[in-house]
Amino acid sequence: MITAANDTVPLRVTFVGHVDHGKSTLIGRILFDAGALSTAARADLRREEDGTIDFAFAVDALREERERHITIDTTRTPFVSETRPYEIIDAPGHPEFLKNMLSGATSADTAVLIVDASLGLEEQTFRHALLLRLVGVQRILVAVNKMDLCDFDEERYRALAGETEVLLGSIGSASFATVPISARHGDNVFHRSDRTPWYEGPTILEALDVLPVEPERSHPLRFPVQDVLERDGHTLLLGRVEGGSIQPGRPVRLLPRDELARVREVRSLDGRLDGAAAGDCPAIVVDAGGLRRGDVLVDPNHLPLTVESARVTVFWMRGSVSIPTEGAIGEARVATQLVPVRIRAVNRRFESATLDEIPERDCLAETDVAEVVLDFERPIVLETHNDFPPLGRITIESSQDVLAAGIVRGGEA
């Protein structure tokens, strides 16, 4: 059912955890209980032999997913609760689909980490928790699922909730709620269960409904130039204001060339000319020439870093590579900048499925998480992820593939 809350910004929630712990089933259950499935989608749900419904069919729409009973790719489904709109992002739990899990996680502001009550923490529980931390998803709800398979045993729940909290704490994360559920039967998902009388906390939906949509942090002006358009004798700099605001007449510093300029004109999409703020996609005219995609207009009094080397924590996604790399391995992307990059050194290296440190630092293998030192072919504008995520997110891509994703820790000599 769609309500008036539909005109506000949705909360984007990704569902992660080990394969078969019940991610797709929980999402299907939420959509079903919310009345968000169409008649056709409801008819499409498969009934199991014991009469219960296979809710995973609501999101696993690919033929291969249904035949193999797995989620291959991330699915994004909108739905509206009584208080707010959501975008629900399913994530595959199989290790070979980690890039799809990450694609979902990088578009979320909140995560539900699902743990199977009978199986406990497994490989992808660790790995997904670490990857959430790596891409900056800080709000995590832990759902201890399949409580029906352990007779809604309070002790089992307490033990697993504790173990999960220890895991999250060890990587610098924490949960804001832990809920004992059965996605298949609907306990504590939308409706409070009478089979967990010992549990007094919120249901999944109650816990999510009260979360604020992440507030935008105030930050000095950051406007990465996305494209340049010649129009009516003016050079329009197209882009999105990532931080702060921009008005006609204000001074800006142009990076990485390090030059001062003044804003002549700000044209908003709706025709306003008085300025633009974070999130807006205006066109800017400045009194300087020769600008191009990748240049960044910033507040002259609050500069980001302009560096040729940086310390970065990355998740390595494709094949293995020896370190240092021979020359550039691809291009590093930060905001709209693309700069050829080499990996100079590995400072620390971890096995993402176990969180164990790997002593060998002369290579990176697929699914490793590592702190590395990058050398850029020319100066690049960035900030630490802690200071400002839009300029602290980095990907490394070859012409064919995304090789790595991570966050900036700091500049490096």
Binding site: D7, A61, L62, T74, N100, L229, Q400, D401, V402
Partner: protein, 269 residues
Amino acid sequence: VTTDRLSRLEAESVYVIREARARFTNLALLWSIGKDSTTLLWLCRKAFFGEIPFPVVHIDTTFKFPEMYAFRDEWARRWNLDLKIARNDDALSRGVSYETHDALTCCDQLKTVALKQAIAREGYDALLVGIRRDEHGVRAKERFFSPRDDAFRWNYEDQPAELWDHYHTGREEGDHFRVHPLLGWTEIDVWRYTQREGLPVNELYFSRGGLRYRSLGCMPITKPMPSEARTIGAIVDELESTDVSERSGRAQDKEELDTMQKLRALGYM
């Protein structure tokens, strides 16, 4: 900072549209004349302040509603579009039509093959397409930037990673990209935005004699639904209380459970 949903969606789409124009050398917009791609077209006009700096392609099966052709020609003129019409004349001269062939064959020949011909002729390396995730379960799996090989296949089992808004545009020789700026919009968002922006609306979407079209396709396989909605406001009210899916009037989707997936794997939009 704006927290209004439509402005956020607009900004997201404009960012994606500009990214496509910046990263590709021969971009085009696919305009089906329906509400979604008309919204996309409007967003392209706004992204580049009135003039769209790339061609607008209509894949003409010749089986569209007369009201759609009239709408196309009027607004192509008023918006000064570089309109290209792509038609599979070879198939049409062989007599491919809904009277003699099944819907899957017609879609493949008159849409997919017509588009392949246009790509071969014009050398497009990327196409802006107005699909939305909420249209269909399989579409919910789409990326904003989605590569297709030279046979138009969508490799949905091994899509490239799409991290934050760092859209990857690397491709093999012969591949092209589908770019989907409206992925995050719902059907109701499109109507609310159409109303907010004062966009023209094809009369087929409004109730006539107790029936209206919710989705526009080829005339022989597109059925109207019972409705009294004669304004955009009434359409929004109607959609807020229905649980029938949007494409239920499109016959090609119903022939088989996974027809949509087959069509998309073959390169159908």
